[in-house]
Amino acid sequence: MHGSFLSHRGGFWFWFALTLVLASVVAYVWHEPIGLPNGGSWLGYTLGTIAALLIVWLTLFGVRKRAYYSRLGSVKGWLSAHVYLGGSLLVLGTLHSGFQFGMNIHTLAWLLMVLVIVSGFYGAWVYWRYPNRITRNRDGMTRDLIFREIADIDRKASLIVEGLGSPADRMVISAIQLFQVGGGAWQQLGGRDRSQMMIGVLKEKQKSWKRVSNSRQQRLLDELTGLLSRSTEPKEAALLQELIDLVSRKARLLKQLLNDIRLQGLMEIWLYCHIPLTLALLATLTAHIVSVFFYW
């Protein structure tokens, strides 16, 4: 009833692209150009024209994706064709070059094309593998639910520490205030947690407060379990145990959240290469075509 874009219409575009690739390889092997194989032979021009048209058409995917009224196929069909025809371009474009590479605009165009295609392959791969990973990691939660539950835990924790007094209250409250997820691209992709907290330190018999990392709430858990191990009062111990349970739950949610951010980031990051490289490719391609005809 439904299926992935990779198997759209029984993999029609896969077979189409494969036929195109095989046909051009056969033609390349069969063709006997004057001199070395190059873009200037009739086959070179044919392959070049097909490849250039393909590049323009592949770029139009960005338009079709946003043309919500369009009845020209489905976006899924377009993506399927985009992936397989884009892949075939690797062969078509390379055969067009006749393997003549140098330090020039033509080879730059080829290189950009390869980079766009490789980033696209990565994209197809993450689109294939990551949705399941994200689903498994989320385990029925949404980001909104996770944030809400963390807020709920914080609220409960701050009520509990009112009965505990220093130093637990300062540590717990500061851990809540200095809690931080997200951040820049590296933080997101690395699943890093920059949360901090304050702990009391004795320095020359003077007590002062110091900021330390509280990544994954681990430091807070260490401090609280330390307090619990030294606690002699049953009531205080009960409150500490309750706090530890809450913070452990928060640590688990946090892990889930950081993982979600990381996976989602990895699933989207390639577009930040794919699109700018495509634009660069279009510009270089134009220069390549113009210069070829200019020097003709």
Binding site: M1, K65, R66, K76, L79
Partner: protein, 793 residues
């Protein structure tokens, strides 16, 4: 001797105010009784700046007061100004508690102990009902309120909120921001409250902002002139009696539905159904002579209708024979008819000819025709086609129609004058099961679903007549299209209708039973106990049957059958059914083939327990009443939200689906999006009747939506939103190149309309969400495909 008014009007809403306005204009001695201190309380309670619409647009206004679409403030100001100009006499704080007497000698008692005498009484109290009072000494003190308009009005007060519902909790939480609040609950828990509210309450209690008294009730309220606080409340709590000082009491005990009061005046209702309206004459007169009922209470919830009735009722009281304002509309409706009769005669003719309308009173019948369409189709014309999703009801005034009951053989039956058809679609909420062709010279009345449902719930006799024919036709088309109707008499007479609540068991595995259930509305699941667990094996929608195994000789039930949603079945007994099978060997073979197919399907489901779990998950999400639902396969979804963007872009900037919200099971995600229910909850209470189902099945909201928000709160799946009208759509290229988004209307007070998924009815290519999904994760499927989906997984 106290003064006796010619007419006393109870309630100053649109209907009552308009009646009083006409009476004042004509110089009639009149009095308008209003239980609060301002006119039109219901409209006053609309939120500030709300845009009020003037539906139905086709109906002209006939009133001494003006009314046009506009803001709440403008409308109220215009009414107040005109009420003064016309010299309407109003008695404020006059909450009527009893009406006795009859034409020429009515006595009305008010709560404050006054009585008013009148020759005629017009009851226009609407349906909101009065707030339930505390019922203890001091309940009417000025600091005791039964409503809270603006919680921020109060600061640093001791406030006691009484009640256990959502409004009490919401008020308490809002007031607790800058006051000390206590909340009084008669019971030991808040069972009726929404989860979100409970959480907020819990928070506020934990922070010490609200103190809740459970198992507690008020005994008395004593005002205090000296002392820190305004009053002292005596409270009975679970731990004994106590005194609590307060500055203010907010009691939110719900409203008393007006029905009991109306019945205490002697007015009769035709049935116990909650939405039944009193029996009234043409002139809006009830069964109590001289006592008239108009407005929402009479079944007319729209402002304009109510105002027209207010005007007309005064004319009727004066004995003037004015034609109802709809006369012209009916004349136009009837203009194409070949009868050569005037409006009243045509109405009489239709009523006389169509059997099922016989028991309907004339006022309601007029309304029914006004809401219906009259057709004179050419012979052979298709009235509706098999598999259409329409659900209107047709009656034959003259001529006949032919119903094609068997698609393959093209066999048709003729249904003649006075009969009706289309009841299956109306009752089951599913596709039409036959194509209907017009006969020669036929005249048809097509009545919309809502009008018919209202009629069915208020006139039992109509319901009985339609049900009888329904059973006959259902059995005929399902089991015996080749038999004569006479042969079915035994089976039909022994059949009965049964209702089941969601989750109720029709029969359980291992029981003995020999009844066959033909589902006429709702849906069922079939399940078995396997390896110590109940596993759902299949889903039975309306139009299909279960239990045939019991009939065919195996009287021990091999599976349990349970209702998913409110369900109604036609129950058939085994003896007459077996007799029928004996007479028709072909039918017997057919029933056996179907049974085998089902057993085979069940066996294959049994081999995959995960499939059964997924099916029961889908049922728990309410998909048992869906006709078309959006599902997302999370193993394919890349969370790009192109579905939402596509929806927003093609629908004025508001996405009607929320991809991420909603539950998931085994990678199937049910996003918050309309599932186009068989019996849409949203249609239940739409004043302008703006929600309808298209022939192709989509439930859509038309432009005459007045933005009241009823559908939004009636939808149990949260898929309807109120969105401002307008905004502007950027072009394709500015979206591609610059990521431009839809510009929304910024003005917070701009008129709003209800919006929901319309399955992109107006887009030729079909639903934009599915077409815009790049990976194939989004699919729209109908319940018949659930089993397919489950097997695939």
């Amino acid at each position: 001797m106290e003064k006796r008014f010619e007419v006393v009007i109870v309630g100053s809403g649109p209907a009552g105010l308009s009646a009083a306005g006409r009476a004042a204009e004509l110089g009639l001695s009149h009095l308008l009784l209003e239980s609060t201190t301002h006119l039109a309380n219901t409209i006053q309670r609309y939120q500030k700046g709300k845009h009020v619409m003037a539906e139905p647009g086709f109906l002209p206004l006939r009133s001494s007061l003006p009314f046009d679409a506009g803001s709440r403030e403008d409308i109220l100001a215009a009414w107040l100004q005109n009420a003064k100009k016309l010299g309407i006499k109003v008695a404020w704080n006059a909450d009527v508690t009893a009406i006795t007497g009859q034409r020429g000698d009515f006595v009305l008692q008010t709560r404050s102990g006054k009585s008013v005498r009148a020759n005629h009484v017009v009851l226009a109290i609407g349906l909101q009902g009065n707030p339930r009072k505390l019922g203890v000494p001091g309940e009417d003190q000025p600091f005791v309120q039964y409503q809270l308009d603006d919680p921020d009005e109060y600061l640093n007060e001791e406030i006691m909120v009484v009640g256990a519902g959502d409004s009490a909790i919401e008020n308490a939480v809002a007031l607790a921001r800058q006051n000390k609040v206590s909340l009084i609950n008669r019971r030991d828990e808040f069972a009726r409250a929404k989860e979100g509210n409970l959480k907020q309450l819990e928070d506020a209690v934990e922070r010490g902002r609200i103190k809740v008294f459970f198992n507690s009730s008020l005994r008395s309220i004593e005002a205090q002139s000296n002392g820190e606080h305004r009053a002292q409340v005596s409270l009975t709590t679970g731990e004994g009696d106590m005194q609590v000082p307060v500055d203010r009491i907010i009691a939110r005990l719900g409203a008393i539905p007006p029905r009991d009061f109306v019945e205490s005046c002697g007015i009769q209702f035709p049935s116990r159904a909650a939405n039944a309206v009193p029996e009234l004459t043409h002139q809006y007169e009830s069964n109590v002579p001289g006592l008239y009922v108009i407005g929402a209470l009479a079944g007319y919830p729209l402002i304009k209708q109510a105002m027209n009735q207010g005007y007309e009722v005064v004319e009727h009281i004066l004995g003037r024979d004015i034609k109802p304002v709809d006369h012209g509309l009916l004349a136009k409706k009837f203009s194409g008819l070949p009868f050569g009769l005037d409006v009243e005669q045509t109405l009489d003719k239709i009523k006389k000819n169509v059997l099922c309308f016989g028991p309907v009173n004339s006022l309601r019948f007029r309304e029914l025709i006004l809401e219906s369409d009259v057709h004179t189709p050419k012979a052979g014309e298709v009235i509706f086609s098999r598999n259409d999703y329409t659900n209107s009801f047709y009656s034959i005034v003259e001529g006949s129609v032919e119903i094609e009951i068997d698609e393959q053989t093209g066999k048709r039956v003729t249904v003649g004058e006075g009969q009706f058809f289309g009841e299956m679609g109306l009752i089951s909420g599913r596709r039409r099961n036959a194509t209907v062709y017009a006969g020669r010279y036929c005249v048809l009345v097509e009545t919309p679903r809502r009008t018919m449902l209202r009629l069915l719930s208020s006139v039992d006799e109509v319901r009985r007549r339609i049900d009888q024919v329904f059973i006959l036709r259902a059995i005929h088309s399902q089991f015996a299209p080749n038999s004569n109707l006479e042969d079915l008499a035994d089976l039909v007479n022994s059949a009965e209708l049964r209702q089941y609540a969601p989750g109720e068991v029709l029969f359980a595995e291992g029981e003995s039973g020999d009844e066959l259930h033909l589902v006429r509305r709702g849906s069922l699941t079939v399940s078995r106990y396997l390896h110590g667990r109940e596993v759902v094996l299949s889903y039975v929608p309306a139009g299909k049957y279960v239990g045939e195994m019991g009939l065919l000789g195996n009287s021990r039930r091999t599976a349990s059958v349970r209702a998913v949603v409110p369900t109604e079945t036609v129950v058939m007994k085994s003896e007459p059914f077996l007799a029928l099978l004996e007479r028709d060997p072909k039918l017997k073979a057919q029933v056996q083939t179907q049974l085998q197919a089902r057993l085979r399907a069940n066996a294959s489901m049994e081999s995959s327990t995960e499939g059964g779990e997924l099916l029961s998950f889908l049922m728990r999400q309410g998909l048992g009443e869906a006709t078309d639902v959006l599902l997302i396969d999370e193993s394919l979804c890349v969370r790009c939200d192109n579905c939402e963007t596509a929806c927003a872009s093609t629908h004025g900037g508001t996405s009607r689906l929320n991809r991420e919200a909603g539950p998931s099971y085994a990678s199937i995600h049910v996003p918050t999006s309309c599932r186009h229910c068989e019996h849409p909850h949203c249609m239940k209470d739409c004043p302008p009747d703006a929600i309808s189902r298209n022939a192709s099945g989509e439930v859509v909201i038309a432009d005459n939506c007045i933005g009241c928000g009823n559908c939004e709160s009636n939808c149990p799946y949260g898929v309807i939103q109120m969105a401002p009208i307008g905004g502007s759509q950027p072009g394709l290229w500015s979206r591609v190149l610059f990521g431009a988004e839809h510009k929304k209307v910024k003005d917070k007070e701009a008129p709003k309309r209800a919006v929901k998924c319309d399955m992109c009815t107006n887009l030729k290519g079909g639903p934009a969400c599915v077409r815009a999904c790049p990976t194939g994760a989004a699919v729209r499927i109908s319940p018949e495909q659930f089993i397919e989906l489950v097997r695939e997984d």
